[in-house]
Structures are given as structure tokens and as C-alpha cells.
């Protein structure tokens, strides 16, 4: 059989969706890539390089490379600001799409920018009125969100669900004071702070943060929330960012509050040993955070040696938020008739093949099927592409 006329829909333009789309296009398969927001890249396109005097294998730069592949590949048709409406499953899969109801979190000037230079369009107008007030601030080539999005029906031979995850909403852990105290940030915020500023400053006063605390497992491994999984990425990203901070600022004092540190990189034991010489590790998760006058934060935790409580002050507190099931999982599960597992991620047919589903023609790629880092999401997407190719009988 030939690949002529074979068409696959990939839902979600994060690193998993990008990789799946790219792998399929290399087999001459037409791909319809559906992305809910106005930009491709998902979460991983906003991450910083965590290299010290050497690469730390965080994988963030590989997302840039894959995005570039995809936007330059004519076999991949990208539909931004588009969402799935309905599935009609008869012979070929027919999927109804609609303009997504995407709303940005915040947009000063009424324009938002993609995180990568490879985003196309790069600027999207989300608030026309604001833009009209100050037309000079509107970059050339900016596209109005209202004009974006695709509605209509597309017939495809298979669908890959790659709609990703949601970072844990740190406000749910109210005692940490996220969104209340300016110098409490999440790992996601810190990624962007470093990416955009090339240095770590306190949000409250723009000063270099000297005394920094990381709290691990925020939202993950948490029985009280019913989140019985390790997110697998937060120890690696926290330690890598901490190393990067320390490399740029040898005077920075970094403390990591943790339960169990998960392995980072191929030489994990060596890496952890190095970290132990540079940061203080405290095997205790603090519960309460109090604001100080200078916008610093005081934390209470239990000392390991004597079991007594201590108070300590920090300039900046980083909450290592984890990977939660995507906000659309239950809706997509209903639409595509594919079951979720007990944690709320999509379930594959078995442990060895977690990309195929019980539903013929529907496949999974990336964190939609459970916590993964960038490299694992890409590998999973490659596996999904392989299963799709077999399914289509492409040769």
C-alpha cells in the first residue's frame, strides 16, 4: 500500500504532538496538527537552557529544533486556536473542529508573543481595544486572535492525542502563599524568568536572589490531594536550574526541601553527589510560609537531626510543581471514547504499548498518557508514529 491520501490528525502542538507530526511527515503522510492556543510548542517551548559550563541535558533546546522542523514542513498543516468539537466514527474518522475558546492569562498592550522565534504568527492580538489605544506598540505582522482558528470537518485515517498536561496549580496549596507573596514562584515561572532575563531576579524588586529555597513534590506524591504519582520531571528541573543559578552566582545559597530525590541524567549518582556539595538538602517538606517586611519569606520546617522546628528566611521560594492530567482529558475521553486511568491520564492498551488505545485508530503521545520529561515525550511520540504507520499499512 502507498502512503498516498493517508492523513493523520495530531491533537496538541506540544513537544509530543510536534514530534509525532514530524515523524509521520517523513513517511509522506499528511498531517493535520490541531493546537488550542495561538502558538505551537506547549509548555516545553518556554523553558530555559540549564547549562552551566556544560550542557545539563534538560532537553529544552531540542524543542526549538523540532518546532523549526514542523513549521518548515509542508506536509504538516497547522491549525492554531482550534479545538475538537465532535467525532463521527464511520470508516474514516471524521472530526469536527471549532475555533477554540482560548483566553490568555494576561496581556499588557493587548498583544501576546510566542515563546520561540519560530512561532508563526509570532504576535497575536488578543485585545483589539487596547491595541487601538496604542497602535505603535502593535508589532508588524501581528494577527488578530478573532481571525484565527479553523471550523469545519476533516476526514482522517488515525488520530494521535497529544494534548499534554497541566502544571499543578500552586494556589491549591494555600499555605505557600503563591500569588499572594511576590517572591514565591513556581518552577514554571522560574523557567521563564531565566529564559527571558538570563538571570534570576526577585519579582518584588528585581534584585538578584541570594538565598533560594526549592520545595519539591508540590502537588505530586500528595495523598491529601489524591495525587498518587511522582511527576518525574521536577527533581531534574529543580536541580538543573539550581546548578545553573549557582554557576552564575557562586554566592547563592540554595536549599532543597525534599522527600526523595529522583535521578537526573545518565550519570545520576555523580550529578547528585556534586549537588550535595553545592546545596543544602533537607529531607522535610515545609508546610507554612510567612511574609517578611522586605518581601522575604520565612519558613518553618523540622530539623532532621533533633526533630525540632526551625524558622529560616529566604529571598526567593521556588515551588517545584508537577505534572497533572490535562484540563481537557475528561472531555477528550468522552469525545474519543478512550478511557482514562485512575490518575486521570489516558490509558494505553498495556504497559508495553502505552501509545495504542482500545479504540481502533486512536493513539496517544506524551504526557497525555502520564508524567514524562521532554526526551521521554519525544520517544513516546516516535513510538506512537510507529504504531500509526503499522495501523495504516504504510510501506
Amino acid at each position: 500500500m502507498s502512503t498516498k491520501n493517508k492523513k493523520v490528525m495530531v491533537i496538541g502542538g506540544g513537544i509530543a504532538g510536534l514530534t509525532a507530526a514530524w515523524e509521520l511527515s517523513r513517511f509522506n503522510i499528511d498531517v493535520e496538527l490541531i493546537e488550542k492556543t495561538p502558538f505551537l510548542g506547549g509548555y516545553a517551548i518556554r523553558y530555559c537552557c540549564k547549562a552551566t559550563d556544560e550542557c545539563r541535558q534538560c532537553g529544552a533546546c531540542t524543542v526549538e529544533a523540532m518546532l523549526k522542523n514542523v513549521v518548515n514542513e509542508p506536509k504538516i498543516r497547522v491549525h492554531l486556536a482550534t479545538d475538537v468539537e465532535k467525532i463521527n466514527n464511520s470508516g474514516r474518522l471524521s472530526v469536527d473542529l471549532k475555533k477554540s475558546s482560548y483566553k490568555p492569562d494576561s496581556a499588557t498592550e493587548g498583544v501576546i508573543r510566542g515563546y520561540s522565534k519560530n512561532n508563526s504568527p509570532l504576535h497575536v492580538i488578543v485585545d483589539k481595544e487596547k491595541c487601538e489605544e496604542n497602535p505603535d506598540a502593535v508589532p508588524e505582522g501581528a494577527v488578530e486572535l478573532d481571525t484565527m482558528g479553523f471550523s469545519g470537518k476533516l476526514d482522517v485515517d488515525a488520530v494521535i492525542l497529544a494534548s499534554g498536561f497541566k502544571p499543578f496549580d500552586a494556589e491549591q496549596k494555600g499555605t505557600y502563599g503563591y500569588e499572594k507573596f511576590p517572591n514565591v514562584v513556581t518552577g514554571m515561572d522560574l523557567e521563564l524568568i531565566i529564559r527571558e532575563n538570563a538571570t534570576v531576579v526577585r519579582p518584588s524588586d528585581g534584585k538578584t536572589a541570594q538565598k533560594i529555597a526549592f520545595i519539591q513534590c508540590v502537588g505530586s506524591r500528595d495523598e491529601s490531594l489524591g495525587n498518587l504519582w511522582c511527576s518525574q520531571v521536577c527533581c531534574p528541573y529543580a536541580l538543573r536550574m539550581a546548578e545553573r543559578i549557582k554557576h552564575k552566582n557562586a554566592d547563592a545559597e540554595i536549599t532543597v526541601f525534599y522527600m526523595d530525590i529522583q535521578n537526573v541524567g545518565k550519570d545520576y549518582a555523580g550529578f547528585y553527589e556534586k549537588c550535595k556539595t553545592e546545596f543544602r538538602f533537607v529531607r522535610n517538606i515545609p508546610v507554612d510560609v510567612f511574609p517578611m517586611e522586605n518581601d522575604s519569606l520565612s519558613m518553618r520546617y523540622m530539623n532532621e537531626e533533633d526533630g525540632l522546628c526551625i524558622n529560616e528566611e529566604f529571598d526567593l521560594l521556588v515551588l517545584s510543581v508537577g505534572i497533572m492530567p490535562g484540563p481537557d482529558n475528561s472531555n477528550l475521553s468522552d469525545l474519543f471514547d478512550v478511557v482514562l486511568n485512575e490518575d486521570g491520564f489516558f490509558a494505553g492498551i498495556d504497559k508495553l504499548n502505552s501509545t495504542s488505545t482500545l479504540k481502533d485508530g486512536i493513539f496517544l503521545a506524551g504526557t497525555v498518557a502520564g508524567p514524562k520529561d521532554i526526551a521521554a515525550s519525544m520517544a513516546h511520540a516516535g513510538q506512537a508514529a510507529s504504531e500509526v504507520i503499522k495501523h495504516l499499512g504504510v510501506s
Binding site: 533546546c61 522565534k117 535521578n263 545518565k266 498495556d350 516516535g382 513510538q383
Partner: protein, 553 residues
């Protein structure tokens, strides 16, 4: 991208047979997938039986799935596309991607095969860690493997009733999720046995794998007691008692277990290093056959057409080995296609008149893409990645890289030295994978950049000849920057290292002609460092301003 559109393409024939090394479950699966997409596979196993390598450790928790695998051995034997060679090992390889010659020895016999691609699928080795805890193995002190065996037999299982069992994990090694998964599986199984009490002395719990945190919780709910320690407990008389001081309860906690189960370590196969030498691929951390370089993940080695699967490249259970195999199946099809490959004629051209077959290029090519004939070195257009390290290292300047030949490059340097209205003229040689992307990002995001900055794109920092740097100064540049990938992130592995060496050489030469060292710099960059790029070049401009414009112009 290189100017592929303008270059002439040619079609060449390549071998489409595939060699799979290792007849464990991963190797069998790889053979079956690759044969399934229509290629002939030679599956090589050093032992007498296929599948014999599979230890129970990679099957932990996959009992259901394993049932489906039982016939994999039989299926592969019946597959006419697969030739199975047991008691066989690889003795040497020659040639390049698309045209490897593999020499195999089976007893006395030596067999030669011409293959297009090679898949390495060796298993990890398992070792007891009792000595790390000062324990000797006895009937009461068991390895995890021994415990797995006991639990697999109904008769042995009965004997475990009413026993107190202590597990030691994560205190004799850093550990990994697979080690923990084996422990949790046995703990859960023991809790099904009447009167069994289970204690786990654990260092860090490596729960970073799907389902482990839940198993951890289930086992605690069923009564298993976990002691999370930062150092080994005190073990007396080969495990008669185990004790430690609990800082919260402020007292010693002592237990006298009937059985102690000691964790095992998983390490790289002892055959890996030899295989790496034969295949001319790199050995990575801890003896696994993949460098810690994101561009190789998941399944690439440093040589195009040689792929590494599962435990060959890192400690991996079957699920991730399966993921690897599917990725390899896709890559093999991309590489071999129908045996005809369209390649750019001018990817890397060796000038016969200049080449003296000194083999510098053969030695320095990180992709193993070069071999030689009677008259000159030959660069395989399939294996070559166009990095240009060879071109810059060749003492005879006999190699030119398509799209980046020396003539064009020096022209670009000359044109790049432009007046920035009295501001410093800075030439930045930028790797197309990192520095150039970062620079474009800074530009597109309208971040601050010096007026006199010109970026010159190179395929890899390893292509930056020392002549390029010196010529830039001769042409009047006030500063020269070499912007490579961070160490450990070069797609060609050590292109950035070569660039660093050349910059170091250039420092010496600058000194000789009396130019300040600060006019030249080497920096590691990544494609996502737009703001980083901006601050680096702005700093450079500042430094040059302090020195003043170049005396050479």
C-alpha cells in the same frame, strides 16, 4: 539549512539487510519489527538459545504482558525474513552506514554480511550488593533475585508464612526505579502470605516511574513498614538484628528479621566496551553505549545507522525498551527506504590532487563516515552529517563542505566586517544549531544587539578553521566571537571542543602580533538562549570599546 535546493543530488544504492546484536527480548522484538517492515534481519545471539538473556528483572510487573511475549521466540523462528545465528559473535565491522560489512564468528566458521544498519540490544547485568551492607549471602540473607524465585514457586511461598522479612534498598547504591519496583513487587506479594511482616530500610525512594508511588502507598496500607534513612542501619551478626536511631521518636529501633533481602545493582553489560570498539561507537556514562547528549536520545549512537536499544543505552525495563524498538523501526525505514537513497553530491568532497591519505579525517570524523580508497579518503554521503570537522582538520585543505566552502566563507567574512558608524565591528561565527538560532531569536525579539555585529553561520563550530578567525582580524574586525553549543550538546559530539582548541591557538597567535586577547572569545550557547545571546554580545562590545578599535584596520 545548507543550500540543498541548489545542490545536485545523486541516487545511490544501499544495503537493506539489518544486523541485530543480542537475542534477548529487546533484540527479538527489534528483529520482528524490522522484519515486519520488509527488511531481512540477521539476529545474532552469543548464547545457544534466544531469549535466554532475559532476566526476570526486566519483566517485573509485566506478568500479563509477558504471556503475550511467550510466543515471540517461536514467531521469530518462523519468520522467513529473519536469519537467526546463535552462539555467534561479532568480530569486526568495516564500511559505513548503508554499506557495513559485519564479520561474525560462529564456532570455527566466519560469516560475512553486508548490512545497511545495525541495532545493538545487549542486556544489563545484575550484581548482588550484600557486601555493601557487610552481609554474606546465606539461607537467611537473600538477593532480590533469590526472593523473586521464591515468590515464583508456590511451595517456597508457603515457607514464607509467619516470617519477618527486612528489605535493604537504596543504601548500598543510588538506585533507580527498576530496583525499587522489584522490591515493591515482592513486598506486595509477601503481604498476601499469612503472618508475613515486612520492613523496608530505604535510602531515597526512586519512585519516578509510572505506578510506583501507588504501589508504595498500597504496600504501606497493607502493613509494610518503611524506614527512610540517610545512612545504613546497624546490622549485627550477619543480620540477626538491624537497628537505627529514630530522631523523631528519639530512640533506637531494633528488629530481628527471619530473612533479609538485599538490593541488587544493574550495570552495563560487560560486552559493551568490546562491541563499542568493533562498531566504533562511543561508550557513555557507566559503560552504557550512549553518550549523555540530548541529540542522541532516544536511540542514536554517534554513527548514523547504528542504533542502541533498551539496556544497551541505559538501565531500562521492557516498556522503555519497547519504546526504543519502535523508534528504531521508524529510523531504519527512514534510513534504508527501498534501498535507493538520494544524497547531495557535494556534501563533503575530497580533492584527490590534495589528499595524501594521512587519515586525519578518518580519525577525527565523529560520525565514522570516512574510509579510504587507493587515491584518496572517501566520505560516505549517507553517513556524513556535514559538520565539517574533517575539512578544518585536514592539513592539506583537501576537503570542502557543500554550502560552506572556504572561498565562500572568506568572502562572507570580508563582507561581514562592516562599519558600525564607529562602533566595533564584531564577527560572530555561529553554529547553526545553537549560536545562530539564539542570535536570530535575539534579533526577532528585538533584544539589544551591537550595530557592528555580523553573524556567520557554520554547520558546526568544528568547521571554524583557525584561518577564518585570523582572516577576520586581518579584514579589520575589532572582535571575533566563536559561538558553539555547550560542551556535551554538540550534534557532532566534539565540534565545540575542536573550536575551543582553535580559539586557544588563535590566542597565542594574537599575542604574537600584539593584539589583545579580549578581542576574541569562545562561548557556549543554545538555540533557546535569545536573551543570553544578547547579553553576551553586548558585554563583548563593551570590552572592545574599552580596548578601542583594532589597530589592524
Amino acid at each position: 539549512m545548507t543550500d540543498m535546493k541548489n545542490t545536485d543530488m545523486e541516487e545511490i544504492n544501499i544495503a537493506t539487510d539489518v544486523l541485530v546484536l543480542g537475542g534477548g527480548l529487546t533484540g527479538i522484538k527489534a528483529a520482528s519489527e524490522i522484519a515486519g517492515s520488509g527488511y531481512k534481519v540477521i539476529l545474532v545471539e552469543k548464547d545457544a538459545e534466544l531469549g535466554s538473556q532475559k532476566g526476570p528483572e526486566s519483566l517485573i510487573g509485566l506478568e500479563e504482558e509477558y504471556k503475550g511475549l511467550q510466543d515471540l521466540d517461536d514467531k521469530i523462528k518462523a519468520d522467513s525474513n529473519v536469519e537467526i545465528l546463535t552462539q555467534t559473535s561479532l568480530v569486526s565491522t568495516a564500511g559505513v552506514t548503508g554499506d557495513f560489512i559485519a564479520r561474525l564468528s560462529k564456532g570455527e566458521e566466519v560469516i560475512e554480511h553486508n548490512v545497511g544498519a545495525i541495532v545493538v540490544a545487549t542486556d544489563f547485568s545484575v550484581g548482588a550488593l550484600n557486601e555493601k551492607y557487610g552481609l554474606s549471602l546465606t539461607d537467611n540473607v537473600l538477593t532480590q533475585s533469590r526472593m523473586d524465585e521464591l515468590l515464583a514457586s508456590e511451595a517456597d511461598k508457603e515457607k514464607l508464612a509467619n516470617k519477618t522479612v527486612a528489605f535493604l534498598v537504596g543504601l548500598g547504591q543510588e538506585g533507580n526505579p527498576l530496583v525499587l519496583e522489584r522490591v515493591l513487587r515482592s513486598v506486595l506479594a509477601l503481604q498476601e502470605i499469612d503472618g508475613c511482616n515486612v520492613y523496608i530500610y530505604a535510602g531515597e525512594l526512586k519512585v519516578a516511574s509510572n505506578g510506583l508511588e501507588r504501589m508504595y502507598k498500597d504496600s504501606r496500607e497493607k502493613g509494610a513498614v518503611f524506614f527512610k534513612l540517610t545512612e545504613k542501619p546497624e546490622i549485627v551478626e550477619n543480620g540477626k538484628t538491624i537497628s537505627f536511631f529514630d530522631p523523631v521518636a528519639r530512640r533506637d529501633i531494633e528488629i530481628s528479621p527471619d530473612l533479609i533481602v538485599v538490593e541488587e545493582e544493574m550495570s552495563a553489560n560487560h560486552l559493551n566496551e568490546e562491541l563499542a570498539e568493533i562498531l566504533r561507537i562511543d561508550v557513555g556514562p557507566l559503560g552504557f553505549l550512549q553518550k549523555d547528549n540530548v541529540h542522541f536520545f532516544p536511540i542514536r549512537s554517534n554513527r548514523e545507522g547504528i542504533f542502541v536499544a533498551g539496556s544497551t543505552r541505559e538501565i531500562s525495563g521492557l516498556p522503555s525498551a519497547w519504546t526504543d524498538v519502535e523508534n528504531i523501526a521508524v529510523e531504519v525505514r527512514n534510513l534504508l527506504g527501498d534501498g535507493k537513497k538520494s544524497v547531495a553530491k557535494n556534501k563533503a568532497i575530497v580533492d584527490e590532487a590534495k589528499c595524501v591519505i594521512c587519515l586525519t579525517c578518518y580519525r577525527c570524523c565523529p560520525h565514522g563516515a570516512i574510509y579510504w580508497g587507493d587515491k584518496k579518503a572517501i566520505i560516505s554521503p549517507v553517513a556524513c552529517q556535514g559538520c565539517g570537522i574533517c575539512a578544518s582538520e585536514c592539513p592539506m585543505d583537501a576537503i570542502q563542505i557543500g554550502g560552506f566552502d572556504d572561498g565562500a566563507m572568506s568572502e562572507e567574512v570580508k563582507n561581514g566586517v562592516v562599519s558600525g558608524n564607529g562602533t566595533p565591528r564584531i564577527i560572530a561565527f555561529c553554529c547553526q544549531n545553537s549560536g545562530f538560532e539564539a542570535g536570530e531569536m535575539a534579533d526577532v525579539f528585538k533584544l539589544q544587539l551591537p550595530d557592528g555585529l555580523r553573524m556567520i553561520k557554520v554547520p558546526c563550530a568544528g568547521k571554524i578553521d583557525i584561518d577564518y578567525i585570523l582572516n577576520a582580524f586581518v579584514a579589520g574586525a575589532d572582535g571575533v566571537m566563536v559561538m558553539a553549543c555547550h560542551p556535551g550538546n554538540c550534534k557532532s559530539e566534539n565540534g565545540n571542543t575542536y573550536a575551543q582548541w582553535r580559539v586557544n591557538d588563535a590566542y597565542r597567535m594574537l599575542e604574537e602580533v600584539g593584539l589583545e586577547k579580549d578581542r576574541l572569545c569562545f562561548v557556549g550557547t543554545a538555540s533557546n538562549m535569545g536573551s543570553g545571546f544578547s547579553s553576551i554580545v553586548v558585554d563583548m562590545e563593551k570590552r572592545i570599546n574599552e580596548l578601542g578599535l583594532s589597530p589592524l584596520k
